[in-house]
């Protein structure tokens, strides 16, 4: 596997959320808005990359029997660092993530990568793997976050939780388009509010997973149809061959008595 493949595999082919269903708790809990998803994703990228590097550095000195507690302690150290930094520099994000910030420790994705990849590979590969997988996780979170925020409010805001600029910026809003025709209509009054509440998280994730499964089912069906066609083609060819052989044999049979007669 090349380094580029190693980096890119986390985005679609082995996406942690949509393919492996890892780290579902944060995927449901912190994806109320685009920005909280982005913040959570970036924190996971940092923790995953650092813990992968450290685990691959010290893998020779960790006894096999106590490896899980050792990995958890390494991960917990980085999570504590991240927690304190977030509390100091992005207090709004810290409040919005709440208990899910310390819970990065038990995120199955991070422990899973330490166990499955970093404990068997060298430092550079592990760092690339951590970065790629973390960014794939972020991509998954952002997809859910954008869907939920858009359905709940009709727009996407930026700058509410992360300390960037003084005022929140509206990235996308249906209000802008609708106000061209009717200035009194505000889309925020008509958003599907349930998508910002817990039930919406389950339904939104279910919808996204259904899209993925639909694509996969269609691909599988295409492969199955192609396979069946190939088998049918082969059967046809074999039948033709048999037929040709039979005809040939019959002709020879017919020819043989004549030859025999001619010989006489």
């Amino acid at each position: 596997m090349t380094k580029k493949d190693n980096f890119l595999k986390g985005f679609f082919k082995e996406n942690p959320i949509f393919v492996f269903l890892l780290g579902m708790c944060p995927a449901l809990a912190v994806t109320t808005t685009f920005e909280t998803s982005l913040g959570m994703g970036l924190l996971v990228v940092f923790v995953l990359t650092s813990s992968n590097i450290v685990v691959s550095l010290v893998k020779k000195w960790i006894p096999h029997d106590v490896r899980t507690p050792a990995y958890i302690v390494i991960i917990a150290t980085f999570v504590t660092v991240v927690k304190m930094l977030t509390e100091a520099y992005a207090i709004e994000l810290y409040d919005a993530l709440g208990v899910f910030l310390p819970l990065i420790v038990v995120n199955c994705l991070i422990l899973g990568r330490a166990e499955a990849f970093a404990s068997k590979n060298n430092v550079v590969d592990s760092a690339i793997d951590g970065l790629g997988m973390g960014l794939g996780f972020t991509l998954g979170l952002i997809t859910i976050g954008i869907l939920r925020e858009f359905l709940a409010t009709g727009g996407i805001m930026f700058g509410v939780y992360l300390p960037i600029g003084d005022h929140p910026i509206t990235l996308v809003s249906l209000d802008m388009i609708i106000n061209l025709f009717n200035a009194n209509f505000h889309i925020t009054d008509y958003g599907i509010k349930v998508f910002s509440l817990p039930p919406g998280a389950f339904i939104a994730l279910g919808m996204i997973l259904a899209v993925f499964q639909f694509k996969k089912a269609r691909k599988d069906r295409k492969i199955a149809i192609a396979k069946m066609e190939m088998i049918a083609e082969k059967k046809r060819l074999a039948a033709e061959k048999k037929k040709a052989a039979a005809i040939k044999a019959a002709q020879e049979k017919q020819a043989a008595p004549k030859l025999a007669k001619a010989g006489e």
Partner: protein, 201 residues
């Protein structure tokens, strides 16, 4: 007085602030071991057992050691170590004392270390219940009652969900929705129903 505290903590943790449907803790076992009702019951019993013990220990640890000696910032590391070793200890203890209990709970215990509900409740107890002025025993009492309610709520939801999933297996679902997607939508509808319980206290 103490009974009111107990009942409030239990009902609010079990029904209003349900651990799975409202707080999104423990989603992995919720989706993973809910294919059969028997497995769901075993898992929720193991979670209830470990959750009550671990929240009592972590609350005491935070109040009596970490806060007293001025190192509350290492709580995450301390808690996860306590939980991991507690799970090991409980597994060994059950194996020695009760063979039948080990048979029913044994395979679920190693999975609990990475169950975020346990660590989540331990951390939540500190942020929601613990205050500098609260007496130790009162705080411990509320923390343990909350853990008990949370474990019961976890069991209630995971059992109901596994029963629904057994029905879903037999029903005619479109290919794209089969498996996890339809289960998530079912969970969303259950969550919507539990949203209606908010405000009964």
């Amino acid at each position: 007085m103490s009974f009111t505290l107990f009942a409030t903590a239990i009902i609010s943790a079990m029904l209003i602030n349900n651990v799975i449907l409202m707080q999104f803790l423990g989603i992995c076992p919720f989706l993973g071991v809910s294919k059969k009702s028997s497995a769901a019951i075993g898992m929720s019993a193991a979670v209830l057992f470990v959750m009550v013990i671990s929240s009592a220990i972590t609350y005491s640890l935070y109040d009596l050691v970490l806060y007293k000696y001025g190192i509350p910032y290492i709580s995450t590391i301390a808690f996860i170590l306590v939980i991991a070793s507690l799970v090991q200890f409980v597994e060994m203890f059950i194996k020695k004392t009760s063979k039948s209990l080990y048979k029913s709970l044994g395979i679920y215990l190693p999975l609990i270390t990475t169950n975020c509900a346990i660590l989540g409740i331990s951390e939540g107890n500190i942020t929601n219940i613990w205050t500098e002025t609260m007496p130790y025993w009162q705080g411990l009492f509320i923390a343990v009652s909350t853990a008990l309610g949370t474990g019961l709520g976890f069991g209630l939801i995971i059992f109901a969900f596994s029963s629904i999933r057994e029905k879903l297996e037999a029903s005619n679902v479109p290919d794209a929705w089969k498996g996890v997607p339809i289960s998530l939508v079912v969970a969303g509808i259950m969550s919507l129903a539990f949203l209606g319980l908010a405000g009964i206290i």
